[in-house]
Amino acid sequence: MSIETNEVRKIAQLARLELTDDEVTSLSADMSNILAYIAQLNELDTTGVPPLEHAAEAGETMRDDTPRPSLERERGLSVAPKVENGCFAVPKIIE
């Protein structure tokens, strides 16, 4: 399994990572190596094996939909990089 640099750039776009050219080159090599190792899973016939998504006990995780206090606005905003008018502020999204 070989991951070419153009594919690395495509995945980086999906992952919202800018990546320098050097990073693209080394990730291409690293990901190819790791995926070549991981290909060993294909030795196993998993036809009909149910996927295990987590190891939590199956149980009741639903709760009543009752209002309860949550983090106050000021405290939530206190750690934000940029705030305007009591909201998180971000650069322009569309022209």
């Binding site: 990546l19 991981i38 060993q40 998993t46 996927p51 190891a55």
Partner: protein
């Protein structure tokens, strides 16, 4: 002996007897930190004034007869557990200087218990690594040999316990991140059953695998600290509704008649002969103590690392999407639009290993590859968990090495990510299956650094794991060996 060398239970007895105050005990730890921390670099942050204030408050509780098991005891937290009073950085540039507006459940429980939080410990960035070298600050050193790595990702917590920079610590374990550094630093480290301890306030790496647990100087301390942090939490829907038992119950009952499985796949080529010898001696010791040794097979073990690196990276790529420079963390705004801000923030804020894992996970989840990678890995995860379920029909616990080698030199494995991943070969299955496991010291290797012994148990049967570990510890003196610092 200096107070900073005490275990939790020794310190508890001295505090309760009035032989020492929490302020004096804490002063001893702060003195030790002043002397040794500059060499070990276990902490990202220690705030002496806060430490002293907590100790004074603890002395009031003790004076008023309101002391609990952890009141006045100095405990360190891995820097991925959020705290209102101290920064939480996950050893990441992106979170440098971040102070959470709330406490997580662990911090809240320790506060309620009146314990003294000594500081936040160094780690691999976002808990991704096995050496603590992936920290955005500096790598923590192994107290046994300052040229070697402490393991990871909870390397700061393990080194802090080994170097007596706290009485005990908490870490998190996604694929071995408590047990492997415990093994490499010669301390006790336990990953409880998935769901036993609330993850609310633990910065998520791989949510189906992450679990918080204790790093301590002996097995009794592991039981004590586990008692303090276990139990259901309405703020974590994956925390189990089972009532947590008192882990001190039956701890010292011995292992006569206990059935201990030794899986042949855990004694393979590539494991240091010194590790194999030490673990073979441990098997003999357990036999002498009256346990019955049963050879078993966990045939899917060779696939555990591959399975883990698909599932953990897939979950990480999704969990780390939240670090986008909007609500918290350090934004890099290059004057472009929102997308450009996201990309610049993440490019500058994440280190190479975190990027590598986000990329691998994004790839495994992307259109056209989901079934071939992610779903396939979940199916193999089923097979690995099934191996363990079948084993636990025959035996009460499993005995294995924790890590194939002792502590490796700093820089020795950083060039080859895959080689680093293979450090976790013996610890990963317990995370994939969600079962409890402990590592404890069982000898020294040819380089004079510790070797770890692992016991793995059934889901929610931490009691048997602790009982086996306590019996081994009680019959040996490996846990009393200390690094010369």
């Amino acid at each position: 002996m200096e107070p900073y060398t005490w275990t939790l239970h020794e310190a508890r007895a001295k505090l309760d007897a009035g032989d020492i105050s929490a302020v004096e005990l804490t002063a001893s730890l702060l003195y030790r930190i002043e002397q040794v921390e500059p060499q070990v670099l276990a902490y990202n942050c220690v705030a002496p004034e806060l430490v002293e204030a907590q100790a004074e408050a603890a002395d009031h509780l003790i004076h008023d007869g309101k002391a609990g098991p952890l009141t006045g005891l100095g405990i360190a937290l891995k820097d991925n557990m959020i705290t209102q009073d101290l920064p939480t950085t996950c050893s990441a540039r992106l979170l440098e200087g971040f102070v959470s507006p709330t406490d997580g459940t662990i911090a809240a429980k320790l506060k309620e218990a009146g314990s003294v939080v000594m500081g936040k410990t160094n780690m691999d960035e976002f808990a991704m690594g096995s050496s603590t070298e992936n920290s955005a600050t500096e790598a923590t050193r192994n107290p046994w040999d300052l040229n070697r790595a402490p393991g990871g990702s909870s390397g700061g917590s393990a080194a802090a316990v080994a170097a007596d920079l706290c009485l005990a610590a908490l870490g998190s374990d996604t694929g071995g991140s408590i047990r492997q550094p415990a093994s490499l630093c010669g301390v006790v480290g336990m990953k409880p059953t998935y769901g036993r301890v609330s993850r609310y306030g633990l910065v998520a790496f791989a949510s189906s695998l992450d679990q918080i647990g204790p790093l301590t100087k002996d097995v009794e301390d592991a039981a004590l600290l586990l008692n303090a942090v276990s139990g259901n939490d309405p703020l974590d829907s994956t925390s189990s509704k089972r009532e947590a038992p008192d882990f001190m119950d039956g701890l010292k009952d011995g292992v006569a008649g206990m059935r201990i499985g030794v899986p042949k796949e855990y004694f393979i080529d590539g494991t240091d002969p010194a590790v194999l010898t030490a673990v073979q001696s441990a098997i003999q010791q357990m036999t002498k103590l009256g346990a019955e040794i049963v050879e078993i097979s966990l045939p899917h073990t060779p696939y555990a690392v591959s399975t883990y690196y698909l599932i953990a990276t897939a979950e990480a790529s999704s969990n780390l999407a939240r670090f986008d420079g909007v609500r918290y963390g350090n934004r890099v705004d290059n004057g472009g639009d929102l997308l450009a801000m996201y990309m610049a923030t993440r490019e500058a804020g994440f280190g190479p290993e975190v990027k590598r894992r986000i990329m691998l996970g994004t790839y495994a989840l992307s259109a056209g590859y989901y079934d071939a990678y992610y779903k396939k890995a979940q199916q193999v995860r089923s097979l690995i968990a099934q191996d363990l379920t079948e084993a636990f029909e025959q035996v009460d616990v499993l005995l294995t090495p924790t890590s194939p080698t002792g502590a490796f030199k700093l820089g020795e494995r950083t060039a080859d990510p895959l080689k680093m991943y293979l450090s976790d070969i013996y610890t990963i299955s317990a995370n994939l299956a969600g079962v409890p496991a402990i590592s404890q010291p069982c000898g020294l290797d040819g380089n004079g650094v510790p070797i770890g012994l692992q016991f793995i148990g059934r889901s929610f049967d931490e009691a048997s794991v602790l009982k086996a570990a306590w019996a081994f510890e009680n019959a040996t003196d490996f846990h009393t060996a200390r690094p010369a610092l």
